[in-house]
Amino acid sequence: MRIRLLHFASFREAIGRDEESRDIADGTLVSELWAVLGGEVPLFRRFPKPPPAAVNREYVSADTVLRDGDEVAFLPPVAGG
């Protein structure tokens, strides 16, 4: 199945692009996708646990199962205001 993955702020700079499509295995969890990214981006391996994640523009827990067509984003520490 295929998901759309968005990158923002420090994560966008670390991975070098702002969005991408990815083919992932059925049943992949948010936490498992983060582990895959950690294999590609050294900065991401410094996180002891996955950062807050959003699926289809809502916060979800790391044990959420991803679905085909999901819009997924891992969020660096937010700093609005």
Binding site: A9, R57, L75, V78, A79, G80
Partner: protein, 142 residues
């Protein structure tokens, strides 16, 4: 729309007061010239736009449940802002001041905690860095 790329129109946020409202509390967050001991010349605000809009709508719903007497309007700016420019504004109107102050405070605290917006600070020497409130005290203000 809760996000804007244009300067925040404070007057427009204040139009909400009704005849029964006796208090209007306005919070405006402004770009400061230093943070954690480093001089700041400008801040780039970046948002996950559609989610930030949705999250601020969810916050507004929750605030209206928590403060039923209060009407809240809020706006957050994105883009490159200079020192002294308003980055966020929240107006809370209610019959009496206590709820207006409380709701305004709760609104800015929740915006800063959950809305997917990030800021990159630029320094006089040309360097820059993303603000991380989880490792610096900057998350406590404005």
């Amino acid at each position: 729309m809760y996000l804007t790329t244009s300067p925040i129109d404070l007057a427009a946020l204040l139009l909400e007061a009704r005849p029964g409202d006796g208090a209007l509390c306005l919070f405006v967050g402004v770009v400061r010239d230093e943070n954690d001991g480093l001089r700041t010349t400008a801040i780039q605000y970046e948002a996950y736009g559609p989610m930030a809009e949705a999250e601020m709508a969810r916050l507004a719903d929750a605030l209206s449940r928590d403060f039923p007497a209060v009407t809240i309007r809020m706006q957050h700016r994105v883009g490159l802002l200079s020192v002294g420019e308003a980055s966020v504004a929240i107006a809370a109107v209610s019959p009496h001041r206590a709820e207006a102050f409380a709701a305004c405070r709760a609104a800015i605290d929740r915006v800063k905690a959950t809305v997917p917006i990030w800021k990159k600070e630029f320094h006089p020497d040309g360097s820059s860095g993303w603000v991380d409130p989880t490792v610096s005290p900057s998350g406590t203000d404005p």
